[in-house]
Symmetry: C2
Subunit: 403 residues, 2 copies
């Protein structure tokens, strides 16, 4: 009877434990499932609390965007998923972009927690893996493609070129836009080289090492200055250069400056893709004085990148072939490139004459904008263009890395 | 022997189940614990991956901020934890603010997912509860105090006044700054009334209903115009008013515009609290043209809020009593309020004469800035000030609600 009782007791204990285990597992699943919302096939403008797109579709009713749903047809590549890139990716995800390609080779660290997006529990994960997980939970309607590598090595660069030229929303087609959110010269130059070769329109972004200035820039190969046409431009923060250039100094960063730059960047992306407002060529942000310089710069005919020069020739041909239409000019603003190939109207504060004058290596810069670096000693500068030299991009990049 | 075997089998099964249950529970705890990092007693500038403050402390080395650690001594109240307020709270949390007070009475909905911060699995939770949970995980060094109520009802308003005047970092002291991130006139006016009575410095923020413009504003009771001195100012978006005012139309919103406004707001907060750069009185953001107007507006001596008029009298007395120092003026910028009571230097693009001219109900506004509403018909306007009338703030607010 004693052993029979033990069997009954044991059976009861087994049932208890089984029930508890099921409950425990259910709690885990619920915690994981709760992160998801079901996919939505068609964006709706219905004004109900459960519609994640109602406030975006309202942009049509408000007269801002003609066809908001078109956002789902675009693929955007974000290179660099740090302080600016992660917020950029989150904004595009919440806006319902069709496809996001993320490139980064870094890991999440607690030292990143002074910027938005990543959370302490993600420390140690690769940035692209952590970002994809968070972004999928936020919006499962977006398609993601992530690459955990450094685009500047030869093999990876070839793969990167292949993905941006073939991994659009429809496989085989190019992406619609490449966004540079990287933090170093080498990676920017790699993106520049790839986009020049492919004729891929891209946007640049950057934040200064002292955390109080930043900028965004639209680069249209053959038309606006590329990174080899002229040194990258930055917003002057009036800080002693010596403080910045000290060896081994850890760069400062702020969630504010990076959030503002990401916001201005994605706003420019939305305006460009959805055809509303004025797309900015260059927009700077000086946080110390709350000052936002704008400018535009034409491509340099003596650019050291042969693909840039080729794109310039092709652009010139298209300009000549284009039927000349008597453009009706509005009274207050001068619209430049009225019916350009990408179908958007660009209104600029700079006149055509100023744009022309701005061509070359070191253009006449508006107050507060300066070049990110000066031409290394030994390079001859004549007039407003850099003379073509035998110095290759690789040499220049090697020189830059030493600085 | 059969029943003995069964006992052995059952005992084995119990052990198996117990082990599995322990593992399941450990997984749950690990998932929860992983969200936390240990508290940090003292901010360190050490450049290691595990230091969440290294990139902020670097602001000292970069010559931007004299004493970054001081951030821990400040308490900031954020009223409204929506598209702007949630990102504002996250930025301040990541910057390591001492204490955050959050006020909101709304619930998280899927319809909020087009803005940053909240996640789909939080739908249904109160915004302050969901925000506190996320923010504590991001930075456990910040003290949080949340209030899930509408500040405009009488009881709640009294409680709100009590908290902002007594819930500083040191209990009993006032908070250092109040940030308005609300989306309606009534709540803004309630904050205005409370801050005028308490002499509490605050900052306003706002985003237009068409999602493409926004602004931030610094309000110093008795010195700069309060919300009763002059109608709130907004950045014109050149959109047909009729489109905006249509009945029952769901307002549009974008994560970009709200992220930019939150970034500009918290940047102004950091500049104000940590004494660097130029604190902006008013900074607008027009996303369509990437245009950022600035301005300043003096308090209106005929303001309908008696506490504002009292603060103006007190400010005048202090100005008279203050020892007159021959201020050394820098050549390029005119520093106004050189040694004002809050110890920061305010540099403005507007001259003193312009600031004076800007006093009154509807000041001479710079291009692109307009008033959020016009004085209701029947109110007499004489010169550049509104005549004092018997219309109470409550009446005016009732009139506004009807619009």
């Amino acid at each position: 009877a004693g052993s029979m009782a033990t069997v009954e007791e044991l059976k009861l204990r087994v049932r208890e434990l089984e029930n508890e285990l099921i409950k425990c597992k259910q709690r885990q699943c619920a915690a994981e499932d709760a992160h998801n919302r079901p996919r939505i096939d068609k964006m709706s403008a219905e004004v109900v609390d459960s519609n994640p797109y109602s406030r975006l579709m309202a942009l049509k009713r408000m007269g801002i965007v003609d066809d908001y749903e078109k956002i789902r047809t675009f693929a955007v590549a974000v290179v660099g998923v740090g302080g600016v890139g992660s917020v950029t990716a989150e904004m595009l995800t919440r806006c319902g972009i069709g496809k996001l390609l993320l490139f980064d080779y870094d890991k999440v660290e607690l030292a990143n927690m002074n910027r938005l997006f990543f959370q302490p529990h993600q420390a140690g994960l690769s940035k692209v893996e952590a970002a994809e997980h968070t972004l999928r939970n936020i919006n499962p309607d977006v398609a993601f493609e992530t690459h955990n590598y450094n685009i500047t090595t030869l093999d990876n660069f070839t793969h990167f070129m292949d993905r941006i030229s073939h991994s659009g929303l429809e496989e085989g087609k190019p992406v619609d836009l490449v966004l540079s959110c990287v933090d170093n010269f080498e990676a920017r130059m790699a993106i520049n080289t790839a986009c020049n070769e492919l004729g891929q329109i891209w946007m640049e972004s950057g934040v200064s090492e002292n955390a109080v200035s930043g900028h965004i820039q639209l680069i249209i190969p053959g038309e606006t200055a590329c990174f080899a046409c002229a040194p990258p431009l930055v917003v002057a923060a009036n800080i002693d250069e010596k403080t910045l250039k000290r060896e081994g100094v850890c760069a400062a960063s702020l969630p504010t400056t990076m959030g503002v730059v990401a916001g201005l960047l994605v706003q420019n992306v939305l305006k460009y893709l959805l055809k509303f407002g004025t797309v900015s060529y260059y927009l700077g942000y000086n946080a110390m004085q709350d000052f936002f310089p704008t400018m535009a710069m034409k491509a340099n005919p003596q650019c050291s990148d042969r693909h840039c020069r080729r794109q310039q020739e092709e652009f010139k041909k298209k300009e000549v072939e284009r039927p000349k239409v008597e453009a009706v000019q509005p009274e207050e603003e001068e619209i430049i490139h009225e019916d350009n190939e990408w179908g958007i109207e660009l209104v600029s504060e700079v006149s055509d004459a100023e744009l022309q004058a701005a061509s070359g290596a070191v253009p006449d810069l508006p107050e507060g904008i300066t070049v990110a670096y000066t031409v290394p000693a030994g390079e001859k500068v004549s007039g407003d263009t850099v003379e073509e030299t035998e110095v290759s991009l690789e040499d220049l990049m090697a020189q830059m890395r030493k600085l």
